[in-house]
């Protein structure tokens, strides 16, 4: 059974577009990345899945449970990390963690203590005094301490320093290995590429590509870096070009034969033709979709 399945999920805020016809399938055990720039509809999709907002149309299921009617059961099996962690003023971290656990009718003290230690979070501190990053850590512990089957994480690493990001992804990988599904939204493509097995790209409320991260990276576009001098005039399909004396780098999606002919006419000391990284693929999908 899929951890998440949506079919034609649509949300309008009055006349404004939120998301349109979102079809997603996230299997149990997936480490799924949800990529898109700000305002693309990532949070709207997540908030619809969690029942914070009602979809205008379409269907959504988490472990076969309807996102409209089975909200409580879904939330009992899910851990959610919001993009911005805000807590009740005046409370200590340990009180927030205790409140979260009691709302789930669980005793999570042991798991919370381990997570706080790994994330270097002081449970005695008041949430008002915490930096953005430390508030994020408290939210991470809230999302993970009850050991949910599905983790829904909205922009999870914003505010975390690189060491903490590393530790955080270690924890996520452990949970994923233990069987949990991870659904992670981000606009930091490198972190999706490093950590996720599958991903979907969302643009202006619509999914424009979905598949394994490897598949998504495999496009006909190539990053070409040429050391030497070459005349690329008249070649179509070149973009993102940077030229410095003796070096040209560009993304090429045109006819490969024409490129090779142009390169053969030049004076080249070194050349590399490689698959673009996910960030470049992301831009490729965006531009393809705009055409």
């Amino acid at each position: 059974m899929e951890a998440i399945r949506t079919s034609n999920l649509t949300k309008y805020y009055g006349k404004s577009r939120g998301i349109e016809g979102i079809d997603l399938e996230v299997s149990q055990g997936d480490f799924f990345g949800f990529i898109g720039p700000n305002g693309a509809g990532k949070s709207t999709t997540i908030r619809s899945l969690l029942g914070l907002i009602s979809p205008t149309s379409g269907e959504g299921y988490i472990y076969g449970l309807d996102i409209r009617g089975d909200r409580e059961e879904i939330l009992a099996r899910t851990g959610y990390l919001p993009s911005e962690a805000v807590f009740y003023r005046g409370m200590k971290v340990k009180d927030i963690l205790k409140l979260s656990a009691s709302l789930r009718k669980k005793d999570c003290r042991e798991a919370a203590s381990v997570l706080c230690r790994r994330l270097q979070l002081d449970e005695e501190r008041k949430v008002d005094e915490l930096s953005f990053g430390n508030r994020k850590k408290a939210a991470i512990v809230c999302a993970l301490q009850h050991e949910p089957e599905l983790l829904i994480l909205d922009e999870p690493t914003s505010g975390l320093d690189p060491l903490m990001q590393k530790e955080f992804f270690e924890i996520l990988k452990e949970r994923n290995k233990a069987g949990a599904a991870v659904f992670l939204s981000s606009h930091v493509l490198s972190e999706i590429q490093r950590n996720c097995t599958r991903a979907a790209i969302i643009r202006e409320g619509k999914i424009i590509a979905c598949g394994s991260v490897d598949e998504l990276s495999k496009t006909s576009t190539r990053r070409v870096t040429v050391h030497g001098s070459v005349n690329l005039e008249g070649l179509e399909g070149i973009r993102d070009r940077t030229d410095t004396p003796g070096l040209s780098s560009f993304l090429y999606s045109g006819d490969m034969n024409l490129l090779l002919k142009a390169l053969a006419r030049g004076r080249i000391s070194d050349i590399s033709i490689s698959e673009p990284d996910l960030e470049e693929v992301f831009m490729h999908y965006y531009e393809e979709d705009r055409k």
Partner: protein, 261 residues
């Protein structure tokens, strides 16, 4: 009852401040009574001949020289207005604060149904209002005993019951409003309480506006009527409780369908 406990903890300071302030003002009024008692005959005559002002506060039908008359007007206004403001503020903020302070996402991403959340929040407001009223009632009774007066139990119970019901009605109305608002709920709550108070003053002054007494909960809290009749006006109370219940129902209907921001 996790949320009830949580809300009570969150509202503890506000409850202490409001209870302390209303209790202190009531105590001051009661402690003033023995000193003023001797001069009350003159004061009563003055107060009962001030035209519209006299009508507005029902001072033509109450004797300022007696503890019940004095208590119904002076302490009634303190408890009436103070209690109304407290109940309105408490209820108007209870749902809207989650979105205003952006904690709604934290709370509603837990397996708590919206109905349970609304119910527990409503219970917490009810408990706070009840606690404030019990404390103020005890303070009043203690102060009356302290100044050496006999406690007029019947009148005291009737007056305090009327003000308690007023607060419950306002709680219901403001609770409903809280479900619709994200910001400005405190202003709306205070505004409604103040408007209800002034509607009653208008109803007291103008005969043609007497129907307003059926719209405002202060209509069944009129000290002069309660002391004179020796009972509460059941008809007005039923209308008031229906208005409060309608507010609560509207709150449930709206909040269970609301998109949380």
């Amino acid at each position: 009852m996790t949320l009830v406990k949580h809300e009570l903890k969150q509202g503890k300071l506000s409850l202490i401040i409001w209870t302390g302030s209303i209790g202190l003002l009531l105590a001051v009024c009661i402690f003033l009574f023995p000193e003023m008692k001797g001069q009350m005959e003159d004061v009563s005559n003055v107060f009962s001949s001030m035209g519209s002002f006299t009508d507005a506060f029902g001072m033509d039908r109450l004797n300022f020289g007696t503890l019940t008359g004095f208590y119904a007007i002076e302490c009634g206004n303190v408890l009436g207005l103070g209690g109304a403001f407290f109940a309105s503020l408490c209820a108007a903020g209870i749902l809207s604060k989650e979105e205003r302070e952006r904690t709604a996402e934290f709370l509603l991403s837990h397996p708590v149904s919206r109905v349970r959340m609304i119910t527990e929040k409503l219970i917490s407001v009810f408990v706070q209002i009840t606690a404030m009223n019990l404390a103020v009632y005890a303070i009043s009774a203690a102060c009356i005993t302290f100044v050496g007066e006999d406690i007029p139990w019947k009148e005291l119970n009737l007056l305090h019951s009327a003000y308690y019901l007023l607060q419950i009605e306002l709680m219901g109305i403001c609770f409903g409003i809280s479900a619709f608002m994200r910001r400005g709920s405190a202003g709306a709550g205070l505004g409604i309480a103040a408007m209800m108070y002034f509607l009653n003053l208008v109803a007291n002054i103008t005969e043609s506006a007497e129907f307003l007494k059926y719209l405002t909960p202060f209509g069944y809290c009129e000290g002069a009527d309660i002391i004179t009749d020796g009972s509460l006006d059941g008809g007005k109370i039923v209308i008031g409780m229906a208005a409060g219940a309608a507010g609560i129902l509207a709150g449930y209907v709206k909040y269970t369908r609301k998109d949380i921001q």
